[in-house]
């Protein structure tokens, strides 16, 4: 892992212990994103998501401890409760209630997906270059990683067709964003963070409501089945019951 300071590429061992720990956590968070991308089973995927939340909370607490930003402790606790416990628990319960917890999702092109994910990480480093040059913070690499986590979350939403996997992708994008705020600016102002946490919580509840609405209306949780609305209407596709 390189430190992106122009002209001074340090060895990993020369970094302070704190930097090494932050980089380790960053790598672990990125790794969980890749696991989610490759995981076909619903329940282990939820567990991986919970681990990502826990790692995020740990990073936040570490940054709070070393940089002496006490308000980050509150964020860390909030993240742990919300992202590592509450939301995974809700998703798990929904999966059991909807009887999809034993299902395997059919992954199309799993190795291609992982290669695309690796490409996205490289791309994130490229996007982050101008910011990394600017940053006076110890955590330069992590900005690129946070962008990568956001992009991998999007990739997850694109390649999967189960609604629950899409929700996990969505929430992992949120994780990436929160991570970027922690490592680049030591968190957002408290009032904003509370607002964001509230929105995430409400979104998680609404997703649960939607699973039931979807099951009742299209009898499935495959978002591929949501294909009735077209940009320019073809009447033949729009309303099958009206066909002769």
């Amino acid at each position: 892992m390189w430190c992106w300071k122009p002209g001074a590429e340090m060895e990993l061992t020369q970094l302070s212990l704190y930097d090494q720990a932050v980089l380790l956590f960053a790598a672990a968070i990125l790794f969980t994103s890749f696991i989610m991308l490759a995981q076909a089973r619903i329940v282990p995927m939820i567990h991986t998501f919970a681990w990502q939340g826990a790692l995020l909370a740990a990073t936040t607490a570490l940054v709070a401890y070393v940089t002496e930003h006490p308000h980050l402790y509150i964020s860390a606790v909030m993240t742990f409760l919300l992202k590592a416990l509450l939301i995974p628990w809700m998703l798990h319960r929904l999966a059991v209630r909807l009887k999809i917890h034993r299902e395997m999702e059919k992954l199309s092109y799993p190795s291609m997906t992982l290669l695309a994910g690796a490409a996205l990480v490289v791309f994130s480093y490229y996007v982050a270059l101008p910011i990394i040059h600017l940053s006076a913070l110890v955590t330069r690499n992590t900005i690129a990683i946070s962008i990568a986590v956001v992009l991998l979350g999007m990739l997850l939403m694109i390649v999967r067709n189960k609604a629950i996997s899409q929700v996990i992708g969505f929430m992992s994008i949120e994780n990436g964003l929160f991570y970027s705020a922690v490592v680049s600016t030591y968190g957002m102002p408290m009032v904003v963070e509370l607002g964001i946490a509230f929105d995430v919580l409400v979104a998680a509840i609404l997703f649960g409501v939607f699973f039931f609405q979807m099951r009742d209306s299209i009898d499935s949780l495959d978002v591929d089945r949501l294909n009735r609305l077209k940009e320019a209407d073809d009447s033949s596709l729009r309303a099958p019951e009206k066909l002769p």
Binding site: A163, A181, L226
Partner: protein, 488 residues
């Protein structure tokens, strides 16, 4: 200031109150009363700001200047007229589609919730809270889009949720980057996301980071504005939800998202000393304008058709704000106003038309003028107004935008005029048979209150013929704020 707090507290009270009594027969009236109280307090606020200049609340949580105060008033006004329309409309829907008590409670409570989110987004002084409120607006309306629980409605709501959610996540990343740039020059971290502080420090913000932040914010809030190619959620959400939702989504939500974008642009312009932000907005705006105009022709659902017209007009406004000079900005502000008034009036009329015909399919809506002349004429006049015919206000604002384009980008007037022509043709080829065609047998009138529609269209007409003194002063102040110089 009392008016400001009242304006936020009234809808918030409404959320709680209507969550309990929203299924009651008179809940529609409660909704109207709450909305009119909101309008009254927003007028009070407007008069105060107009007389005393920009207002910053003591806690620095709220910031009101000429730009947002007029949007606050517009939001409250359209909120009220839509609430008036919603009462008989939803009663009809309860009978026709058998919507249960729980869903009516949800509907009324979330109506006020949406109004709260809009007003909070407009009045807040904090870029982060603005994001929270914009996301809140999605969360309050997403269950309303799926209110009818048909497969189409659930699909539309899911698309709306996912696309707007992911889109607006980009805006959050942009906000983080903005905070990152601001925290380097502003000593106190709690101040670094306040609009009034940011504007003061705009010239010191790092241009590279701000460019990147703007791109993310443009994609994020642009999704909510409905800019092509991020517009996919918009026609679906508009066509499948209940019509009052379409009216306020189109008349208000899109405006507020554009407001957020323009605020960010003002900041980025101060830092960059180039017109990069403007050029990006012009590109996206023009693309949306052209693409939506062509899609208008291929619609079979009346609400989808008018939602493409919304995309087209939002594209034009984005384009005009992108050009940036005082004349274009004045035109864009005027266009925001007349578009909201006209489009919400149209959606109200369309709602009644769909109830008369029993369907939203353009091919099946026929002979409106014979069955119910007020609805037929309302649709005709509304469409004439939105297509940009003189003497309506939309013509005036489009003319201003065209003039401004002619001055700074003469060759772009050609695609603009072509786009206007294409959209005009798209609207009228569908409109004529709906209004004048032979009415099917057995088509009966529905109970409709067309007075708010007429009032709104009269406003649009008035703005087209003569902009009243106080309003032009108001627009002028906002223009000076955004573009830095006066158009007059």
């Amino acid at each position: 200031m009392t008016a400001l707090w009242l304006m936020l507290l009234i809808p918030l009270t409404g959320v709680v109150l209507l969550a309990f009594i929203g299924h009651h027969r008179h809940a529609g009236w409660v909704n109207i009363i709450l909305s009119s109280l909101s309008l009254a307090s927003s007028l009070w606020l407007a008069v105060h700001v107009l007389a005393n200049g920009p207002y910053l609340s003591p806690s620095r949580m709220m910031y009101i200047d000429a730009f947002n105060v007029y949007l606050v008033t517009l939001t409250a006004l359209v909120g009220l007229t839509t609430a008036i329309f919603s009462r008989p409309y939803m009663q009809h829907e309860v009978e026709a589609r058998k919507i249960g008590k729980r869903r009516m409670r949800l509907y009324h409570s979330m109506y006020q919730g949406f109004m709260f989110a809009m007003q909070a987004a407009l009045t807040t002084n904090n870029v982060g809270i603005l994001w929270v409120a914009m996301e809140g607006a999605t969360l309050t309306t997403v269950l309303l889009v799926s209110l009818y629980r048909t497969p189409e409605a659930v699909e539309a709501a899911w698309k709306y949720f996912i696309l707007c959610g992911v889109g607006i996540a980009q805006a959050l990343f942009g906000t983080v980057l903005l905070y990152f740039a601001a925290a380097r020059v502003i000593p106190s971290p709690d101040d670094a996301l306040l609009w009034n502080v940011l504007y003061g420090a705009a010239t010191q913000l790092d241009p590279t980071v701000l460019t990147l932040a703007f791109v993310f914010l443009l994609v994020g809030y642009g999704t909510k504005v409905g800019l092509v190619p991020l517009h996919n959620w918009l026609p679906d959400a508009h066509s499948e939800g209940p019509t009052p939702m379409s009216a306020i989504l189109s008349g208000l939500l899109l405006n507020v998202a554009l407001y957020a974008l323009v605020r960010v642009k003002m900041l980025v312009d101060g830092s960059l000393h180039s017109n990069l932000a403007g050029h990006l907005m012009m590109g996206f705006g023009l693309l949306s304008f052209m693409v939506a105009g062509f899609f208008l022709h291929r619609q079979r659902d009346i609400k989808r058709m008018f939602s493409y017209s919304s995309i087209e007009h939002m594209g034009l406004m984005t384009f005009a704000f992108g050009i940036g000079g005082p004349l274009a900005t004045f035109g864009a502000l005027l266009h925001m106003t007349v578009h909201s008034l006209t489009k919400s009036a149209i959606f109200v009329t369309v709602g009644h038309a769909a109830q008369i015909a029993g369907t939203q399919s353009i091919e099946k809506i026929r002979g409106l003028i014979r069955t119910q002349p007020t609805v037929g004429w309302g649709l005709l006049i509304g469409t004439v107004a939105i297509a940009g015919f003189p003497p309506f206000g939309v013509f005036t604002s489009e003319f201003l935008v065209l003039t401004a384009t002619m001055k700074s980008w003469p060759w772009l007037t050609v695609p603009l005029l072509v786009g206007l022509g294409v959209a005009f043709a798209g609207l009228f080829r569908h409109l004529h048979p709906m209004v004048y065609g032979e009415a099917p047998e057995g088509q009966v009138r529905v109970s409709a209150n067309m007075i708010p529609v007429m009032v709104q269209l009269a406003f649009v007409l008035w703005l087209g013929i003569a902009i009243p003194e106080f309003l032009s002063k108001w627009f002028e102040q906002a223009t000076v704020l955004i573009s830095g110089s006066s158009p007059l």
